[in-house]
Symmetry: C2
Subunit: 513 residues, 2 copies
C-alpha cells in the first residue's frame, strides 16, 4: 500500500500492529480525548525522597513490558538514562519500551541491554553512532519508532505513547518535587520535553544532583506531578550537556548557502517588521541568522519572536532588541542557558506548545519562516534527516516536519554534494518531511522553489539569485558525481518514521550490508 507520497507502507507491521499511512500534512483530524495520567494522592508532608534509583524502581512497581521515558536535555552529558536501564536490567526486568525524547551517542551504552532483551522497543526522535548502526541492523525486537518532537507530544497526549514511569533528570529539585532546569551544576536550561512526560506519565521519578529547600523557584515541573525523588552525585557531565557559545560557521560553502537562504527569505517578503523565525542548529541554518541580522539592522526592522532549540546567537539578538521574545523547548549552549535563566522574555515551552499538531494551535503555526538542514532532499522536495547515504540511521527527526508544516516559509539548506555524493536526488532514501511543506531548497550551486509556491517564484524572479528547477539542481549534482547507486535493501522493516499526526510517512528497511 502506497501512502500519499508514494512510499510503500504495509498495513500491518510486525511489532507495531496496524498502521495508517501518511495522507497529507493536514489530512488527519484527531478524534477522541487526551489520555489521562493515573490519578494519585499524597499525604501532607509525605516524604518523596528515596534512597536510590533501585529503590525508586521498586517503589513505582516497574515490571516487564512497561514503558519508561526520559528527556534528552543533557545530550551527550546525560548520566540518567543508561544508569536507570542498568538498574532495571540488574533487577531482571525485561521487555521494556524505551521512550526518550531522543537518544545521543552516549546512549550507545544501551546496546547490551537491547541484546539481552531488557529493551525490546524504542520510540525516539532519532539515534546516532553505534546505536544508529545497531538499530539499522535490526537487532531491536520491534521496529524503531521515530517521531518528531511535535509528534511525540501528540502521541503522549493522545495516548499512543503511554508512559508508565518517567525518569526525569532534574538540575534543580526541591524536597516536594518542584523542578527547574536552570539551577545547579547540571543546568540545561529549558525542560520543554520533560514537561510533557511529567504531565502524562502514570508515575514520575525525579533524579537530581541538586536537592533544594522547598519551595524551589521558578517552577518548570510542579510538585503535583512528581511522585518520588532520588538524589545522586551527578545527573550530567556539564561539558556534555552544553558547549560554550555555538558560533557561526566559517565554512565558505555553508556561508554562501546561508546568504542565499537569507536572500530568499528577504525577496519572498517574509523579512518584515514583527516577523517570527526558527533557525535549525546546523552550520548553514544557524549562519542564516548572521545575514538576517545584518538585513534587520540595515533596514531598521525588529522581529516578533524566535522559536526553537535555542542558541546564544539567537538569545543575543533578543538582548539586542532585534526580537521581543524567545520560545525555548531546548537550550543548546551555555549562553542560551544563561539567557533563559535571566531573561523573563526568554520563555520555556513544552513540546506540545512548540509543535503538537493536535492541540488548539502550537507556536510553529505562528512562524513566518524556518530554516532547516537536511541530509538529502529530492525532486519532490521531500527531506531526509534520519538516514545516511548507506541507509543507516544517523540523525533525528527533531522539529523538522513540525516547523515545516507550521511556517509560512520553509527553507531547507543543504550542500549540493557531500564528498562525491549528490544531496539532491530523484528520491530521498527516507522521507521525514514531506515536500508539500517545503518551499525552497537552497544549495551553494542553486536554489529551487517549490512549484506550488507561485507567489515566491514571482517574488524571487528578478533577485539575481541562482534560481532553477529542482530537476536542474539534481541534474547538476548527477552530472558532477554521477547518479548515486541505489541502496540494496532487504524486506525487513527495522524502523518507521511517523509523521507528526501519527501516520506513517516512511519505513526504514534493513540494507543488505
Amino acid at each position: 500500500m502506497k501512502n500519499s507520497i508514494g512510499r510503500e507502507i504495509p498495513d500491518f507491521i510486525p511489532g507495531l500492529g496496524k498502521v495508517t499511512g501518511f495522507g497529507g500534512a493536514f489530512a488527519r483530524k484527531p478524534v477522541g480525548r487526551t489520555a489521562g495520567a493515573a490519578l494519585s494522592t499524597c499525604l501532607p508532608r509525605a516524604d518523596k525522597l528515596l534512597a536510590s534509583i533501585e529503590t525508586a524502581i521498586d517503589a513505582v512497581g516497574l515490571k516487564d513490558g512497561m514503558t519508561i521515558s526520559f528527556h534528552h536535555h543533557f545530550r551527550n552529558g546525560d548520566r540518567i538514562l543508561n544508569r536507570v536501564v542498568e538498574a532495571i536490567a540488574k533487577k531482571g526486568i525485561r521487555d521494556i519500551t524505551l521512550s526518550p525524547s531522543s537518544l545521543n551517542t552516549v546512549n550507545d551504552a544501551l546496546i547490551p541491554y537491547i541484546e539481552q532483551g531488557v529493551i525490546t522497543a524504542i520510540e525516539t526522535s532519532g539515534a546516532r553512532g553505534k546505536m544508529g548502526r545497531f538499530l539499522t541492523e535490526g537487532h531491536l525486537k520491534k521496529p524503531l519508532h521515530i517521531r518528531s518532537h511535535g509528534g511525540r507530544a501528540q502521541a503522549i497526549e493522545s495516548g499512543a505513547i503511554h508512559i508508565d514511569v518517567a525518569f526525569l533528570g532534574a538540575p534543580a529539585c526541591d524536597r516536594y518535587g518542584n523542578i527547574n532546569g536552570i539551577q545547579g551544576q547540571s543546568a540545561c536550561g529549558s525542560l520543554g520535553y520533560a514537561i510533557q512526560d511529567a504531565a502524562y506519565a502514570d508515575q514520575v521519578v525525579a533524579i537530581t544532583d541538586n536537592l533544594m529547600p522547598h519551595p524551589l523557584f521558578p517552577i518548570s515541573i510542579p510538585q503535583t506531578q512528581v511522585d518520588y525523588i532520588v538524589v545522586v552525585d551527578s545527573i550530567g557531565d556539564p561539558a556534555g550537556i552544553a558547549s560554550g557559545a555555538l558560533r557561526y560557521t566559517k565554512d565558505p560553502k555553508e556561508l554562501l548557502i546561508a546568504k542565499y537562504a537569507a536572500d530568499v527569505m528577504d525577496y519572498s517578503g517574509y523579512l518584515q517588521q514583527d516577523f517570527s523565525m526558527q533557525l535549525g542548529s546546523g552550520g548553514a541554518s544557524m549562519a542564516v541568522g548572521r545575514f538576517i541580522k545584518t538585513k534587520m539592522l540595515e533596514r531598521g526592522i525588529t522581529g516578533s519572536f524566535g522559536v526553537g532549540g535555542m542558541t546564544g546567537v539567537f538569545a543575543e539578538m533578543m538582548e539586542e532588541g532585534l526580537f521581543k521574545m524567545m520560545f525555548d523547548v531546548q537550550s543548546f549552549d551555555i549562553p542560551a542557558i544563561d539567557s533563559i535563566k535571566k531573561n523573563s522574555n526568554h520563555l520555556e515551552m513544552s513540546a506540545s506548545y512548540y509543535a503538537n499538531p493536535h492541540n488548539s494551535g502550537a507556536i510553529v503555526n505562528n512562524l513566518d519562516a524556518v530554516i532547516l538542514s537536511a541530509t538529502e532532499v529530492d525532486v519532490d522536495f521531500n527531506v531526509n534527516v534520519i538516514t545516511d547515504s548507506n541507509g543507516v540511521i544517523m540523525g533525528a527527526s527533531g522539529g523538522h516536519c513540525d516547523t515545516a508544516a507550521g511556517a509560512k516559509l520553509t527553507i531547507v539548506v543543504a550542500p549540493l554534494l557531500r564528498g562525491r555524493l549528490p544531496m539532491v536526488k530523484d528520491a530521498v532514501h527516507t522521507v521525514v518531511t514531506p515536500g508539500e511543506t517545503v518551499d525552497a531548497i537552497v544549495t551553494e550551486r542553486g536554489i529551487a522553489i517549490n512549484p506550488k509556491r507561485l507567489d515566491i517564484i514571482d517574488n524571487v524572479k528578478n533577485s539575481g539569485l541562482p534560481i532553477m528547477s529542482i530537476h536542474e539542481l539534481k541534474d547538476i549534482a548527477y552530472k558532477l558525481c554521477g547518479k548515486p547507486e541505489a541502496i540494496q535493501l532487504s524486506d525487513e522493516i527495522v524502523g518507521v518514521v511517523e509523521y507528526r499526526d501519527g501516520t506513517i510517512i516512511d519505513v526504514i528497511r534493513r540494507p543488505k550490508f
Copy 2:
C-alpha cells in the same frame, strides 16, 4: 445512612444519583485516570476571532444539557457569566449545568434563567445574596453542588465535572489565544481557577476587552488550549473586580481574636524560621497577619512562602523580605494584582497546584499554618462557612477544607456571638470542614484546642491564653444567649456539600420558611 461525622446522607440523591458519604479526611484513594479534554487541531494561522458571544455559542455547538464553566476572578465586577447565559437563553438552549469556580451577588441576575429552565444545575464554591436564598428555597431543578477550590480541581481532573465549554474572561488575550490576567483595564491578577478549566474543557472560548498582538507575554493560559476568541467592550467593572488595598480590621473584637490566634500559632511552635502560612481574607483572619508580622520582626525570623487568595498585606510582607514567595490562586485587591504583575517571586498557581487532594501533592500539603474564618463551629470542631443561622446559603466553601486538611496547624477564628446568636454550638447546621482537620477554635472569650492535638495543648498550657474546652466555650455562648433554636427543616435536599475528595460531607435541606 450516616457518614463518618454522623451526618445523614442518602445513598441516592435525586438529580445527582448515587453518592458516597464522607469517610474521613484522607480515607478516599483515587482510582483510575485523569479525564482528557477532546483532542483538537488548528491549522497554521487559523483565525480564532469570532464576531460575538452568540457566534461563539454557535461555533462550539452548545446544546441542551451541556456544562459550561466560568472563573470568578472578576468577583462582583464580572460581566461575562450573566452575559453568556443571557445569550444562551435567547438561543432557546436549556438544561445547562453551570459550573463556575464561584458565584457572587452580581450573579443574582441569573435567577430568571433558573426559573425558565435554562440553568437546571449549578456546581460552585458558594452562593450569596438573593441567589443563595433562591437556591435554598429549592428552585433549582437539581441540588446545588458545593465544592471547595481543591475539590473542584479534583472533580475536573477526575472527570466528575466534565466541562463542555469554558468561557474565560481574559484581561489580556492575543490573537491566537495566549492569555494572562495582569494586563489591561480588567486586570484581575492570578487566573488560577481558569487554568484548570482551560486545560480540561472540551472547548475554550476566551472573551476579552484587551486583544493584544501575538505573542502576549507572560502566558497564564496557552494558545494550545484556546479555540475561539471574542472581543467585547468590557469583561469587568474594575471597581467590582478589586477594591483598593484591603486593610486590617479596626474592630476591637476582631483584633483581640487575631491577637489570640497569632499567640496560639506562636506557642504551638509553628512560628519558626522558614514557616509557611495562609491567611483567610476575613477581617479577623487577615488581621492575624499584623500580629504575626510584629512577632517576626521582633524575633528576626523570616518565612518561607505564603499561599492563598492573596492580599496586598501579604504581598507587602514579601516585598519587605518577610516571605520569600507567594503562591497566588486569586488576587484579592489592587496591591496584590500589582504585586503579581511586577514580582517574579509572586507566583500564579492553578487550583490543582493549590489544593487538589488527588494529585501528587498540592501546596496546601506544605503549609505550616492556616488561619480561617467560620460562620459557626461546633463541639466536634466541625466548621460551617456556607449557611447562616436560618439555614440559608450565604457563603462559599473556598479553600477552607483544603487548607485545613493540608496545614500542620489549622486555626479557626470566629466571634463567640454574632448579635444574640452563639457561633459555637452543639452542632453546626452544615459541615464544610470536618473537625478532625481543625486544631484550634479562637474566639474573643476563649480558645479551644482539639483534644487530639495533645502536643498543642501541652505547648499552650502555660501561655496565659484563655484556653478552655470546646464545651466550655459553647456553654459560655449558650449562657449568654440561650441555646439556639433548631432550624425547622423539610426533607427536601436543596444542596450537597462535597468534601475535597468527592465524598458528600453534608447536605443542605430546605428550611420550612
